[in-house]
Symmetry: none
DNA sequence: GATGAATGAGAATTCATTCAT
DNA sequence: AATGAATGAATTCTCATTCAT
């Protein structure tokens, strides 16, 4: 079946974590939302913390890999960034909950990611650094450039989550790509 | 005296909230850090929530006013934005704790701000909209433009907080202003 | 087969009960150690309590009978006690786990023994009382005498269990028999 | 006042631990017996474990010191042991609960005693060893001798606790002292 | 105003037991 | 007989809040 107990726990937890925050969500909440007994959570996850970690790592690390794969398929720096933006925004539109979860847990959960693992931010940094070498990105501090680019990409998602923007995020992709181009071109 | 009990509570709370998060900070923690008894907190604030709200509102609303005042003193769109960036980054360098607190509580606390109050984001939006009218900002969706600009401004602060950038934030102001100019100019 | 499921449960439980204590041993522990599913325990025992009771009664009552049989084979009071000491200490050396289990559950489990059943302590008491009648044991309160004798017999076992004595317990038999002789002779 | 909250917790816990066992006694039980809220326990002890440890260490270590002091006041080996037996049995009669608690937690709690601390058993061992040197105790393995003596001393207490002996334990002191004399004299 | 002991409503977690397969 | 997922009551511990002093 597609709805195993574990799946139901994961989905219930994800939705609640996003709506109420991780700490404010109790195991009782999760059990109720998943339609199971509280103790059942512990048949599938060692602890609430382990559940959070699972949710994050199981999605964050693969995302980085996917972004890296996607980026390789495009030739130019701007095409690479464009494909990343489109992929992320489509992901957001398809499953805003999952995307939001990653966005809000990002900083707390970073230390749970095995050291040395590629992150989405690292993929963006790599593209920008290569672009500078080739001359397709203007010369500036690569770390600053990366964070400015990431800011441009994530802020619309963040605004959407907090109700300050509406409609599919994919609609904003063109604007963001244009902004990235203006930000980075020599 | 400058160090009234209330001040000590506020300072202790602010520092702890930023270091450990609002929920993870207990009233016991705050009392210990402030060197007072736990019960004393309730002489000055109705509840922990009220303390959080006070901390946010007492700083967020005045900040918006200050930013508005500052922006009025400059003539052009870009000067306005530049002065805002410089003010914010100086604020960050002077009191990273306060700035960080506002950044992290921003979204949870927004509903605690009296409706209709001007916010920092609203100030940026106003500048951009006026710029568009005058032709000093290229034509695009003003809401998107605002969020892209805010993303550019805040991401370096966020990166600094999470240890991904270092050194005074003021050093980054030029880069950010340049980025804003590239993003917005016609 | 010698290793039926029930046997494996019994052996796993005994070993864990002795090592970790009855309460601290979970049914999960037992199942894991026995290499079976948790539910399977309940095919063979009504409850964890019933398992404990089985373990105790199945060994404690027969032991009392064995000790009684052994004691009958010897002629004098001291020979009787000596044969009991040697039997117990050999039992300890052969299967310290089983012996230890009986020693530690002794007091909690006593009420689980069918009323009127002969216990090992009762066997010792009988020997001493008969000895007093015949004049081979000095006159004193028989109940006190019994407990002093039992104390002499069991303390070395207890010390061994708790790591305060080492080497085969059988080696101590002579010392204990001498002590019993000094304690009891007229 | 003599009945501070902490005292009430300690007394309630002691009594329950002895009656039901440490693990079977819940913090809820303790709070109910002490007439306080469950959370209040944690104002006075870090955890249930810490409470158990406190109860043991706060009584076991001083007891050893007291026994040592008492033993010094007597001249001969047998007088020393006699005074110890009388002190212990009086203690038992005065506060059977405390004595019982120490007896039942003895082995589990030993590792909680700071290494190198004198224990009651060590006091007995010292007396016996000195006795052997002086020739007032017959030659035998001192460790075995110690445990046999301890067995003689404690078994009546143990029997009393489990309802197999009744009346003041002090009444048994003479019998036990005689038994020790028979056991140890050359 | 200040204290700090006490509260009690939950929070996460454990575990003996059940039951459909 | 055996399984193992699921249960839910019970357990330890936390913490914002109250209140007599």
């Amino acid at each position: 079946m597609t709805h195993t107990t574990k799946t139901r726990i994961v989905e219930a937890a994800l939705s609640l974590f996003v709506r109420k925050g991780v700490i404010q969500t109790t195991t009782k909440d999760i059990a109720a939302a998943a339609g199971i007994a509280e103790g059942t959570i512990y048949r599938h996850f060692e602890s609430k913390d382990a559940l959070v970690e699972h949710l994050f790592v199981a999605n964050y690390v693969p995302l980085a890999k996917t972004l890296d794969t996607i980026q390789r398929r495009s030739a130019t720096t701007m095409r690479k960034l464009e494909s990343i933006v489109r992929h992320l925004y489509k992901m957001f539109d398809d499953d805003p909950t999952l995307f939001t979860f990653m966005l809000i847990t990002q900083h707390d959960a970073v230390d749970k990611v095995p050291a040395g693992t590629t992150t989405p931010v690292a993929v963006v940094r790599k593209i920008i650094k290569e672009g500078m070498k080739q001359g397709s990105v203007r010369t500036m501090d690569p770390q600053t450039a990366t964070h400015l680019a990431v800011g441009l990409i994530l802020q619309p998602a963040s605004a959407q989550i907090h109700g300050e923007l509406s409609g599919p995020l994919s609609q904003r992709a063109n604007d963001v790509v244009t902004a990235l181009d203006r930000l980075l071109r020599p």
